[in-house]
């Protein structure tokens, strides 16, 4: 294969039907793979009448044209589905080895439909595709399941859910290779609802570049930039993603105690530097990755992977906890239970504030590190208060009459940047199609890290265009599929040439940006079809109305409305946030919706 294998594996668990379908070349041209292709297939397969936790929802696992090519970080894959947490279009992507191995099975996409009558697993190997009983695996943790199915990096790779997914927690993850996660938006619950415990892949095909000379040249040039960037060659390998903890805290953008403050007094104790000093055993890389940002860490009680910056924040500053060992163990626990660390930590932080305000009867309080691990287990097994927290912070807070205390956008818990100190990040959260998320065009780059150039983080004019461009770039990278950390050093013009080398088809940098824009607009159309409106492009009232209380961002709220207006204008959407017919035509999406002709 040169980029695309040209095949979709379609499995219906209800009747154990297994089909191989051709990949529509036109869809591949327009959406590439991964997130883009997943959204396009989801558009056809899951309409607004479908409950995300019904058998009519589907799981779409998709590789991209660069997956398994050997390009730097070409190990990733996505899952697309309708989110049980947000009700929006959802995709989550993950690294490790599984994505590379799946591509080697000779398929670009795996669609899983229906619902098995009992616990089930899928095996895709050179011997064929099998649907098998998984009753003995049901109830097992992620590490137990992964080991039982013979995980062997580079040869045999396992993807599964843990107890949280089995118990239909709306903040549950799908895990691959033991410790990597497709976490956000609750895809684990969709898999659990299908009684699907695991998917094991063994492949032998190769994704060989069509133009080997150009590919070698591009590998060299890309590698040069990754080595030259202090972020990708020093900060991430040495400190992991938590390298930014002190940076974000210093500028007053570290959400603390459920976003009541923008700086954490003990940030240094949970920083990347401290993690390296106290807990780091070694760093580790996903397949074909020269960056190696993964942390293998050890506490007195356990050893495992992580925590990443976002997870450290979620169990740390968000919960007022400064014990790095407790935070790391919470991360190991989430990996094993199959929970989204950001949503789990943020939901617990929300509950801590509600308990302090007397809105719920619970011993949870900010700083109560001793309660953290049991609360996570209670969420995964839906015990006591955990049963409510398993629904995510918005449903939990709303059930107790205080939805405003959920720090979420479109019901997805916000990550580790306080947008009162990063105005563009606020616009990003509010407009993100899968809900409040930093991985859809993180403004940490331009607003803090000077990538590609430092812009005024408090300014609003002109911000909309930069946010939109970053959203397009993120959507393109998620469709190729590569790790976004390469984008810290390497620009779209490199990705376009890598794609040209692998597929033999000519792509320009702006072709990729156009594809990213197409994906973004398709996702928007999906959400509009689900009933979302401009009113959903918003943030928790706290961020709009309560100024940051102290530090370098003191006095600022998010000035969302002027940015949102400029954003809709930039995108060619009407004032309700609906793409205009002209925009849809330009993006070749007009055939998806019945559109009226532009009238003068």
């Amino acid at each position: 294969m040169h980029g695309w294998a040209g095949k979709i594996l379609d499995i219906d668990l209800t009747n154990h039907a297994i089909r191989t379908l051709p990949l529509d070349a036109e869809k591949a041209r327009l959406f590439l793979g991964g997130r883009g292709l997943g959204a396009r297939l989801l558009w056809d397969l899951v309409g607004p009448q479908v409950d995300p936790l019904s058998e009519s929802n589907v799981l779409i696992f998709a590789a991209g044209p660069l997956t398994a090519s050997g390009a730097q970080t070409s190990n990733r894959f996505t899952v697309s589905t309708k989110s049980p947490l947000t009700g929006t279009v959802l995709d989550a992507n993950s690294g490790g080895w599984w994505g590379m191995q799946f591509k080697r099975t000779g398929y670009d996409v795996l669609i899983v439909r229906g619902k098995a009558s009992q616990p089930t697993q899928i095996q895709i190997t050179p011997d064929g595709v099998k649907i098998e009983d998984a009753s003995l695996l049901w109830g097992k943790t992620v590490s137990e399941t992964t080991a039982a199915l013979g995980q062997d990096n580079n040869r045999r790779n396992v993807l599964c859910i843990g107890p949280a997914g089995e118990n239909l927690s709306r903040i549950s993850a799908i895990m691959n290779d033991g410790t990597r996660s497709l976490a956000r938006g609750g895809p684990g619950a969709v898999m659990g609802n299908k009684n699907l415990k695991a998917i094991t892949v063994v492949g032998s095909d190769k994704n060989a570049p069509e133009d080997r000379d150009l590919f070698r040249f591009m590998l060299y040039e890309t590698g040069k930039l990754i080595k030259a960037s202090p972020l990708t060659s020093q900060a991430l390998p040495e400190f992991g993603t938590a390298a930014v903890m002190n940076v974000v805290n210093t500028i007053g953008a570290l959400p603390t105690r459920n976003f009541q403050a923008s700086q954490f007094e003990n940030a240094e104790r949970v920083s990347g530097e401290q993690l390296t000093d106290d807990l780091l055993v070694r760093n580790q890389a996903c397949w074909a990755c020269p960056i190696a940002c993964t942390r293998v860490t050890r506490t007195e009680k356990a050893e495992g992977e992580g925590p990443e910056y976002e997870s450290t924040w979620a169990f740390g500053p968000q919960c007022g906890i400064d014990r790095l060992d407790v935070i790391a163990e919470a991360n190991y626990l989430c990996n094993d239970l199959g929970l989204d660390t950001i949503s789990a930590g943020s939901t617990i932080g929300c509950a801590m504030e509600m308990a302090e305000r007397g809105l719920i009867d619970s011993p949870l309080r900010f700083g109560r590190a001793d309660l953290l691990h049991d609360t996570l287990r209670d969420i995964a097994y839906r015990r006591g208060l955990g049963d409510e927290l398993a629904e995510g912070s918005y449903r939990f807070a709303a059930a107790h009459g205080a939805p405003e205390l959920s720090m979420s956008a479109k019901r997805l818990e916000l990550p580790a940047y306080d947008p009162r100190g990063m105005q563009g990040q606020g616009l990003l959260y509010a407009t993100s199609n899968r809900g409040g998320c930093h991985m859809r065009g993180n403004m940490l780059g331009p607003e803090v890290l000077a990538l590609p150039r430092l812009i005024d983080r408090f300014a609003t004019q002109g911000k909309a265009g930069i946010v939109a461009i970053h959203q397009h770039s993120a959507a393109a990278i998620d469709s190729l599929l590569l790790c976004k950390f390469t984008n810290l050093a390497v620009a779209e013009e490199y990705f376009a040439r890598l794609l040209t080398a692998v597929t033999g088809q000519s792509y320009k940098a702006d072709d990729l940006m156009r594809i990213g824009e197409r994906v973004w607009n398709l996702e928007r159309l999906y959400n509009l079809r689900e009933g979302f409106t401009r009113a959903d492009d918003t943030l928790p009232p706290r961020l709009l109305n309560e100024p940051s209380p102290a530090g370098p961002s003191a006095g600022f709220t998010v000035r969302l409305e002027p940015m949102l207006e400029e954003y809709y204008e930039f995108r060619g959407w009407d004032t309700n946030g609906v793409p205009t017919p002209a925009k849809l035509k330009m993006l070749e999406l007009d055939s998806l919706v019945a559109v009226k002709e532009d009238t003068p």
Binding site: L214, G465, I466, E493, A509, F570
Partner: protein, 203 residues
């Protein structure tokens, strides 16, 4: 009305361009895109002495009275914004790069920084090399693939997410052009030190 913070960026970069000798007293222009509008320097304003009243705001996709005072190259700026992801554009007249554009179809830097950042800068030509739709289309189509280009015998068009980024590419190109020229003037054999440099022409 232009945001004061944005004006400061225009003013400082305009001054830097003039002081660096990258354009004549009244040559060159700059713009940024904000939503569905373009903020662009007015016609005749000196890049090195910009004032807040030297900027006009005009629509991206429709004509309005703003065009009566806009830069001659507004048509190019609009077309580039319509066809590419650029958020800022700078046009000016770097003399060494212009000289090279008169003798070759592409400028391939031979120094480390130019090689890293630019690889290759294409040279394009139009019969009416200023303010024409023909030129605008050629420039915009080329900028879908490259972030900076030379218009033969006229000057540079550079794009970025910010004015600073667009300025960076111009500054880098002129430095790389100076180095090409000076190395040529030395008249000695050049020692190649870059692996895969033969592939730069394919960039």
């Amino acid at each position: 009305m232009i945001d004061p913070r944005l004006f400061e960026e225009f003013r400082d970069i305009g001054r830097d361009i003039y002081v660096a000798g990258l354009t004549s007293s009244h040559g060159g222009n700059m713009s940024v895109r904000a939503g569905s509008r373009v903020i662009i320097k007015r016609r005749g304003a000196q890049l090195g002495r910009l004032k807040i009243e030297d900027f006009i705001e005009t629509k991206l996709n429709a004509k309005d009275s703003g065009i009566t005072r806009a830069s001659t190259e507004l048509i190019v700026h609009r077309t580039v914004y319509q066809k590419t992801s650029a958020l800022a554009i700078i046009h000016c007249h770097p003399r060494t790069a212009i000289a090279l554009s008169l003798t070759r179809d592409e400028i391939i830097p031979i120094d480390v920084e130019g090689s890293y950042l630019l690889h290759k800068v294409p040279v394009v030509a139009a019969e009416f090399a200023s303010g024409s739709q023909e030129m605008a289309d050629i420039v915009a189509d080329t900028l879908r693939e490259y972030k900076i280009l030379m218009l033969r015998g006229h000057g540079v068009f550079s794009t970025g997410q910010t004015l600073e980024e667009a300025f960076h590419w111009i500054s880098c190109l002129e430095e790389a052009s100076d180095i090409i020229l000076e190395t040529h003037l030395l008249g000695e054999e050049r020692k190649e030190f870059r692996k895969h440099s033969e592939s730069y022409s394919k960039w």
